[in-house]
Every structure is written in structure tokens, then in C-alpha cells.
């Protein structure tokens, strides 16, 4: 079953139309990559899926966006939606608090107070994000002391702590060195079996390495959506080909 079903989605920032009639389905246990030049609407689409766009004044939406059949704008409370759809940002953004509190923040926000349950969640999610061994001796120390790559994996763990069904990642490795990037990619491939993952990336090789499907966006339109292998070897649309081969514009 599809986790996300998007049909004829339009989005405006004031008078500027950032998404035009976008339709896309993302399934469980699959990584979908969103690619396209800056300002093409790929990040906007990502932010629509957990309604982070609500924070932007003048943002209007029409069309249909569903999480497991439920309309994300009318049938789901926004905080519940965001719990079920985790998000990881371009720049690692751990809170200025301890590693433990970073992970526990989400569960606490959703009413979990038991110390035992929190301890368990912290260990489980840090293990799932493949960072437990690196931080288990410094759970009480500030998360800001971790390296960039560790911070990003912490942010992934933090997102996992509220037991989401999907993970949205907005260029999660663009601020990281190749080794940290490799670790995150490895992690995403491991997490894939349990989550629907959607990733915005500017790195073509990254898209080919980790994603199953790829959608190419241009000026707010989804130009092509297909198996990643297809997009990067035999795209149907000339514009896709021009973009992925770097002949764009």
C-alpha cells in the first residue's frame, strides 16, 4: 500500500506558484529521490508532506495529499501528522541540550513521561541510527559537541524516536564530508525496509546509489517520475536528460 498519495497538488507562496499539478505515490520500504535545480519545488513538496509549509505565511494549497488514505490537511491533526512523518534537515540541527534529551524531546512532546520507556526509546533509536556506540558514554553531554555527521545521525534518531511511518530528508548530506555521507547513505538503506523514505538531493550519484524511484522537478512541475535506474540511464523527457547529464540551461 502506498504511504503517500499525492494527486494534482498545487501550492502557492503568495502569487508565486511553487508546485503545479504534482501527482506522486510513495510506497513503504522504498526510497524516493526528488531531484531538480534549485527552486524547482522539490523541497516545497517535501515540506508539504508534513505540513512544515504551514509556518510560511501566504502559503496556499489545492489538490489532494494523503498519508495512508487520510487527507493530511483535513483528516489528520497537524502534530499527529508530524509525528507519523519525520523530517531531517539539510543542516544538522540538534537542540542545544544533551544527547539523551534530544532523543527524548519527541516522545515527551507526545506524552511519554516514564523514565524507563524513555531510556528504552533512546537506546533503541540511537542503535537504529547506527550511532549508539559513538554516544552511549556521553548521553548526558551536549549534542552540540558531536561531529557534523554524528549530529545528522542523531537528528535521524530523534526523528525515529516518535515512531514515524515515513522519513523526509532535505539534502541530509550536503553539509557533510564523503565518509559521513557514506554512513548516512548506508543507514538510509538499512532503514528503508521499515520506512517510506523520501529524500531531496542535489547529488545525482547519491540518488542512483540509494533510491528506488526518482522524480525530476522543474519550475514547480514534476517532469518525470520513474525507477531511478531508468531516470539515470534512459530518461524519457529531454529536460530530465539535460538536467541529469548537466547540460541544463
Amino acid at each position: 500500500m502506498n504511504v503517500f498519495d499525492i494527486a494534482a497538488l498545487n501550492l502557492w507562496y503568495g502569487n508565486f506558484q511553487a508546485l503545479k499539478e504534482v501527482s506522486l505515490a510513495a510506497a513503504d520500504a522504498e526510497i524516493t529521490a526528488l531531484i531538480g535545480p534549485s527552486g524547482c519545488g522539490k523541497s516545497t513538496l517535501l515540506k508539504t508532506l508534513n505540513r512544515m509549509n504551514d509556518l510560511i505565511p501566504g502559503c496556499r494549497i489545492s489538490g489532494d495529499a494523503r498519508l495512508r488514505g487520510q487527507d493530511i490537511y483535513t483528516e489528520l491533526p497537524v502534530n499527529e501528522l508530524r509525528r507519523r512523518v519525520g523530517m531531517v534537515f539539510q543542516k544538522p540541527n540538534p537542540f542545544p541540550m544533551s544527547v539523551y534529551d534530544n532523543i527524548a524531546f519527541g516522545p515527551r512532546a507526545h506524552g511519554i513521561k516514564s523514565r524507563l520507556a524513555l531510556d528504552e526509546t533512546v537506546e533503541k533509536t540511537l542503535r537504529a541510527a547506527a550511532i549508539w556506540d559513538e554516544v552511549k558514554d556521553r548521553l548526558r553531554k551536549s549534542a552540540l559537541g558531536l561531529s557534523g555527521g554524528q549530529q545528522q545521525r542523531l537528528c535521524i534518531a530523534r526523528a525515529l524516536a516518535v515512531t514515524p511511518e515515513a522519513l523526509l530528508l532535505d539534502e541530509p548530506t550536503s553539509a557533510l564530508d564523503p565518509i559521513s555521507t557514506g554512513k548516512i547513505e548506508e543507514l538510509l538503506l538499512t532503514l528503508k525496509k521499515d520506512y517510506c523514505i523520501i529524500i531531496v538531493t542535489h547529488n545525482m550519484q547519491q540518488a542512483t546509489r540509494i533510491s528506488d524511484k526518482t522524480a525530476f522537478f522543474l519550475l514547480g512541475e514534476m517532469i518525470e517520475y520513474d525507477h531511478t535506474k531508468k531516470i539515470f540511464s534512459l530518461p524519457r523527457d529531454k529536460r530530465t536528460e539535460d538536467y541529469v547529464t548537466g547540460r541544463f540551461g
Partner: protein, 290 residues
């Protein structure tokens, strides 16, 4: 030849500017050390036990009542100004739509309020709290006047600190499905705490250093602010003097100049102690994020 000439030239200007900035810094330190040294040198020999007797009279010119009054004045004024100032700052930074007209007006009003000379605050306090509300020269009138004075300080400092908190913290917290209130109180405020504390330190400095506004509102009576039943109950309508006012009174009379310096030395110690405590607190908050 020309290149080496330019190189020498740059070297010269670098040395010159370096010396200038170093000189300025040294001068600043020298002035500070001179002032502190002068006050301690003049005042320390007169820090006698009689100066700390619980009751003031014209012979012992005790500073203890003034010290106690100063502490109460500070605590009460902060207790009033901090919730209001911080609340207003949270509203402006987190809830009000950025760039709205109301926000700009409130900001303008705060800035104006911050720029008003303290004597005007004193006159207003006298006319409104002392006379119109009939509180008389009292601790309460002094506290309210001081509150009005430090409110913009705390508000501005808090707002700056809140606005300086990266949006990525808010985004990260909202993305986890946290509510606005939780995001503000658990994420943004702790992150802004050092900035808020800086505002509080400024406000404390303003309170303990204030004379003009207090002479017209709290009066100059050198007595403990306690109620008749005794400490720790406080009679907010009793007229009191703070350390600064006490100093002013002593030096103006010209009879107890030495004790005035002793008071100044005490005030200095109090200010340094408050700043050190605040710095430690800010350090702790900054490290652990509360």
C-alpha cells in the same frame, strides 16, 4: 623596490593600528583598575563592624539598612519586570506576525521608554505612584518606578535573544510534532536564556546604581524595610534608601565621606558578586541547555 616599500608601509600601518587598539584596551583596563582601586583604597579602611549595625544613626552611619533595602528593591523590581518583559518579548518574537504594525509600534515604544532619563521616571513615579495613588515615599513606589525603567531593557534583551535563536531549532521541534507552547518553553527559551540573563544583569546594574528616580519615589530614610512584626515580612509602604542613595546622602552632607567610600566599596562587591553569579548561571544554562 616598490613592492618592498609597500610591504614596509603596510607593516608600519599594521604596527600602528595594533598599538592603537592595544593602547585603547590597556587604557580601559587602567581606568577600571584605577576606579576600583581608588574606591577600595579609600573605602576599605572604613569598613568597620559598626557600619553593618542593624540600625542606622548619625554616628555609626550604618549601611546595612540600605543594603537590605537594595536587595529587596532589586528582587521585587525584577520579580515584576521579568515576567512582563519576557512575556512581551515572547509575544513579539514568537507569536506576533513578524513585521506587523503593532509589533513595530510596541518596539518603538520600548525604545523610547529605554531612552528616557531616569529623573523623568522619578518625576513620573512621584506624581503617579507617590501622589496620585497615594503610596507616599515608599519601597513600593520605588519598585514600580524601577520596574518601568528596566522593563524595556529586559524586553529588548530578551527579544534579541529569542530572535537570535536559530529557526532550525524551531523547525526541528515542530517537525517532531511538538506544540507551540512546548517549542517556546522547552527549546527556544532555554536557548535564549543567556541573552535574557544578560538583560537581567543590565537591569540589576541599573537598579543598584539608580539614585535620582529613587530619591523622588522611595525617599531617603535609612531604615530596614521590615514590617512592625519584624523580618522577614516587609512593609512595602516604608520609605527606604538604597546603597546608591545612601552614598549620595553621605557624600552630599560632607560629614561622612569616608563611610561613603566604604559604602561604595560594598556596592562594588555586591555588583561584582551579582555579575559573577549571573555569569556562572548563564554558563550552566548555555552548556546544558537547562
Amino acid at each position: 623596490m616598490k613592492i618592498s616599500f609597500q610591504k614596509n608601509n603596510r607593516k608600519f600601518s599594521e604596527i600602528f593600528l595594533g598599538a592603537l587598539t592595544w593602547g585603547a584596551a590597556l587604557l580601559m583596563c587602567a581606568v577600571l583598575i584605577y576606579i576600583v582601586g581608588f574606591i577600595v583604597w579609600r573605602g576599605a579602611p572604613y569598613l568597620k563592624p559598626s557600619l553593618f549595625s542593624p540600625v542606622y544613626n548619625s554616628v555609626n552611619v550604618s549601611l546595612l539598612p540600605a543594603l537590605v533595602s537594595t536587595v529587596y528593591m532589586t528582587v521585587f523590581a525584577l520579580a515584576l519586570a521579568l515576567p512582563f518583559g519576557l512575556g512581551a518579548a515572547v509575544y513579539l518574537a514568537e507569536y506576533a506576525r513578524r513585521g506587523r504594525k503593532v509589533v513595530r509600534m510596541i518596539r518603538l515604544a520600548t525604545e523610547t521608554l529605554a531612552g528616557i532619563p531616569s529623573i523623568i521616571h522619578g518625576l513620573f513615579g512621584m506624581l503617579f505612584f507617590v501622589t496620585y495613588l497615594g503610596w507616599g515615599f515608599s519601597l513600593l513606589a520605588g519598585v514600580f518606578t524601577l520596574t518601568v525603567m528596566i522593563l524595556p531593557l529586559i524586553m529588548r534583551a530578551s527579544e534579541e535573544a529569542l530572535l537570535a535563536t536559530p529557526d532550525s531549532y524551531r523547525e526541528g521541534a515542530f517537525a517532531l510534532g511538538a506544540g507551540k507552547l512546548r517549542v517556546v518553553f522547552r527549546i527556544v527559551l532555554p536557548a535564549a536564556a543567556p541573552g535574557v540573563l544578560a538583560g537581567v544583569i543590565l537591569a540589576v546594574g541599573r537598579i543598584v546604581g539608580e539614585t535620582a528616580a529613587l530619591i523622588y519615589t522611595a525617599g531617603t530614610v535609612a531604615q530596614m524595610p521590615f514590617a512592625e512584626t519584624g523580618p522577614p515580612l516587609v512593609d512595602v509602604f516604608s520609605s527606604v534608601r538604597t546603597l546608591s542613595v545612601h552614598m549620595y546622602a553621605l557624600t552630599r552632607e560632607g560629614l561622612h565621606t569616608n563611610e561613603g567610600f566604604a559604602t561604595a566599596a560594598t556596592l562594588l562587591i555586591v555588583v561584582i558578586a551579582v555579575n559573577a553569579a549571573a555569569a556562572r548561571l548563564a554558563g550552566r544554562v548555555g552548556r546544558n541547555g537547562a
